[in-house]
Symmetry: C2
Subunit: 199 residues, 2 copies
Amino acid sequence: VALPEPITALSEALCRLPGIGPRSAERLALHIVQSPADEVRRLAQTLVQAREKVRLCSICGGLTESEPCSICSDARRDASLLCIVERPLDIFALEKSGSFKGLYHVLGGRISPLNGVEPEDLRLAELEARLGRGITEIVVALSTDVEGDATSFYLAKRLAGKGAKVFRLAHGLPAGSGLEFADEVTLSRALEGRREIPA
Amino acid sequence: VALPEPITALSEALCRLPGIGPRSAERLALHIVQSPADEVRRLAQTLVQAREKVRLCSICGGLTESEPCSICSDARRDASLLCIVERPLDIFALEKSGSFKGLYHVLGGRISPLNGVEPEDLRLAELEARLGRGITEIVVALSTDVEGDATSFYLAKRLAGKGAKVFRLAHGLPAGSGLEFADEVTLSRALEGRREIPA
């Protein structure tokens, strides 16, 4: 006697979600079949509605309910500044910092030949279409690993001579952390990027 | 600028599931809104169908698609043996062991006055209704913690004199584990229950 088939089917479906292993998928499936039916229907509805209501902004590629998104359509944002990020989520991280008042562009990943991600798989055509419309400064804000750095260099080369200066975020020690938690690459970058303390 | 509302709504709904914290709920919600729409609809359907197709067997209280369940309706099972478990899931664990050929009864929990679970909150009326129909042996297979033990003793007392002998599972060392991993209660129970090795 095995688990009823609808439970294993649900468990397998949940297992395909990121970060959910076979054991937690089974536990979730068992919880769900024993939950009130209207609660389960509501959860299913929330799933479908979230997917239907949220789209990618056709300009920046960020997650949005409206088209274009509230950032792209906000006249108070500085349209001369463009920040390039990997994923839609990165926009919310930067917005939380409250330190960037320009516009965003989601690249959709980084160049990674080993994983089959070539430049043409990224939103580069969309990016180039946005240049020339008064953008004078581009901040490349990708992950600070090998692939992120390689992609940043590629972007700097590709975007050169199109009217905008290309920057990257500073590398160094994270805030609120001690030297003992920093790896050697972070430390050497923090040293390279040292700043004079005004007297 | 915050996350679009349908994403936070989904994230909050997922957060109510067992074992899913706020961070993994947000990650799941972001994954789902970026998945193909038909995949999300299929997942929602699987959720609702699992809940609609799976019910609790009116006899044993186990999870089933048919009514009564395949165990209760199986004439080859030994109807003189009844095993009492806490949760529907426990039936599948015991079935995997392949060592029990009788019928089951799901109690639906254990007595826990601190958590407001009294005997009348358990499936005891349903249990007593099954006695007298040729059941001669009852195996109480509850958790081996304080509440499980207390519930086992309560059951033994309540079921006494109703025509069936009441047993509990053996306590002792788990299979494939060394003494160094056993706590002192397990070890003292393993000593109490020692068996002579036939010469």
